[in-house]
């Protein structure tokens, strides 16, 4: 990872400050991290800039994780989304099977789970980065 020219840009979306804090600690090794506390704020950010990965809570005050994913899908963005949820419903499970851009982590998560999922989700970024640096 240290050999890469660029670092990934990751967005954390959660209305619980303690979760944001834990994720910031875990993801600090990857590079540029931003955090917002609502789904709608995340969508507003996506209108103006691109991210290499989004980690989002499902249930939030203003806009859900699925709202963000629908925005990504409707606008043909290539940003993968890792949904962090306390309950994996059938609907979410179906979505994760259908879409390569959508994965889930069930709460309570561990450090290793987050790192594993983030590493997998960032494979396209590292491949692209590797090609451009060559």
């Amino acid at each position: 990872m240290n050999n890469k020219t660029h670092t990934p840009k990751i967005l954390i979306v959660d209305d619980d400050q303690s979760i944001i804090r834990a994720l910031l600690m875990t993801l600090s090794r990857y590079g540029e991290i931003e955090a917002v506390n609502s789904g709608n704020k995340a969508i507003e950010l996506l209108k103006g800039q691109s991210y290499d990965l989004i980690l989002s809570d499902q249930e939030m005050v203003d806009g859900t994780g699925i709202d963000i994913f629908n925005y990504i899908r409707d606008h043909n963005l290539k940003t993968p989304l890792i949904l962090i949820t306390a309950f994996i419903s059938e609907e979410l499970l179906t979505l994760s099977i259908k879409s390569k851009l959508f994965t889930m982590i069930e709460k309570p998560f561990t450090n290793i789970q987050i790192i594993n999922e983030v590493d997998v989700a960032l494979i396209p970024f590292f491949k692209k980065d590797s090609i451009s640096s060559n």
């Binding site: 834990a22 306390a86 709460k107």
Partner: protein, 419 residues
């Protein structure tokens, strides 16, 4: 007005009804075959069977409009069918019983409506029976005993059917209430489990990181100290949450009457249901001290606050606010969701009727449960539409008010003023 029966109940009824109809046709066919009445009789009976079967299928497929008018149509059609063109014989009231006894299993309606329907049809049936004596009773069969037998027989089966309908309705309401309580408990438990899962995600992450870091150094680094600080904060947050939850549920174990204050319960609910309430401003005006089973008040307030929160979030209300006001023996909960209940729903909620309604979405969700607990305490509950939303007011019996603790007196409190 009507609560739909299940598809299997209708299916069984349909099969039974067809079986009875076919049996009656088989029985009566030889009596009329070859007579002048044969064709109209068969056509009339076929038409009656057609409407009855169509009605049952409409019920089965839940075609609402037809289902709403059908119980009356069905009842009078069948009574006419029993009266019209029949050859009354000794013990004919058994034929009447076949339909009347099965009716409460098909349709549920209020006791008043059912009582009127059954009384009218009982009178009509016996009147036609009496007036048609010369035309329809087998010659030589008629006697006073035969007629008394028919009147007493039809009266008895009407009464049994009416009582059976009441028992079925009460059982259905009991099951519905039980089901509602499970939903209510499930919803709250799910919300609490959701919060706990979120709360322990931080600590598990920090422990993982600390475990990884401790392998590479023998002394605490700055990062490790930071992680320990975060871990400490998060674990104490979980502890506080569990303690508050314990405050809310411990009374369910002891089930004893204790002195409680509304403000203490609201404080616990705010903490335990933080994820449901989120950014809603909960304002309390005044306070009440009650000597009561804590669980009852807990369930009332949890339902009222959580339901209002759901509506406020659903409506995306700006500056969302729930106001809890206490005065004398009155507790009120009002929100500014803008949600209104229609007159019919308000009538059902506030009335003494035991009928239930499906129109309890929005602010109405859980009203049945709240009313149950209010009744257990011996209080009275009233819902009303205010300018900014729905308000609920509960009047507690004075005997449970604490005389020792001064209650805050607020002047001329009304839901419209506090919003």
């Amino acid at each position: 007005m009507f609560e739909k029966v299940t598809k299997s109940e209708i299916g069984w009824t349909l099969s039974t009804f067809l079986f009875i109809t076919l049996a009656m046709l088989a029985k009566e066919f030889p009596l009329l075959h070859g007579t002048a009445n044969f064709i109209p009789y068969i056509l009339g009976k076929t038409l009656a069977i057609f409407f009855q079967v169509t009605g049952l299928i409409a019920g089965l497929l839940e075609i609402n409009l037809f289902y709403a008018i059908f119980p009356y149509f069905f009842y009078f059609l069948t009574i006419s069918y029993l009266m019209h063109g029949q050859v009354f014989q000794p013990n004919y009231w058994l034929g009447y019983m076949e339909f009347v006894m099965i009716y409460p299993f098909i349709f549920y309606m209020s006791r008043v409506r059912l009582g009127i329907l059954m009384t009218l049809s009982f009178l009509a049936f016996n009147l036609v029976f009496y007036l048609s004596v010369d035309n329809f009773i087998n010659k030589g069969s008629y006697s006073k005993e035969f007629y008394y037998d028919a009147v007493v027989g039809t009266a008895v089966c009407t009464y049994i059917s009416f009582v059976a309908s009441g028992v079925l309705m009460a059982e259905k309401i009991r099951r519905f209430n039980l089901y509602q309580r499970f939903i209510d408990l499930g919803k709250n438990m799910s919300s609490i489990a959701h919060d706990i899962k979120g709360m322990i995600s931080g600590p598990t992450t920090y422990v993982d990181m600390l475990s990884e870091l401790s392998r590479s150094s023998n002394h605490f680094t700055e990062k490790e100290i930071q992680l320990i600080t975060y871990l400490n904060e998060d674990v104490y947050a979980v502890r506080d949450f569990v303690l508050e939850m314990n405050n809310l549920v411990s009374s369910q174990i002891t089930n004893q009457e204790t002195l409680i204050s509304i403000s203490a319960i609201v404080k616990s609910i705010k903490k335990v249901f933080k994820s449901k309430i989120r950014d809603i401003n909960i304002v309390q005006i005044g306070d009440l001290s009650l000597f009561v089973k804590v669980d009852y008040i807990n369930r009332i307030l949890i339902n009222a606050i959580v339901n209002s929160s759901e509506v406020l979030h659903k409506n995306r209300t700006q500056n969302a606010k729930i106001t809890i006001y206490c005065e004398d023996n009155l507790l009120g909960v009002a929100d500014n969701s803008g949600e209104k209940l229609d007159d019919k729903t308000l009538k059902i909620i506030n009335g003494a009727s035991s009928m239930f309604t499906n129109k309890q979405g929005g602010s109405g969700l859980g009203i049945m449960i709240i009313r149950d607990y209010v009744e257990m305490i011996g209080g009275k509950m009233k819902y009303s539409n205010q300018i900014h939303g729905v308000s609920m007011e509960i009047k507690f019996p004075r005997k449970i008010l604490s005389p020792e603790i001064n209650r805050t007196k607020t002047e001329n409190l009304s839901p419209s003023k506090i919003q």
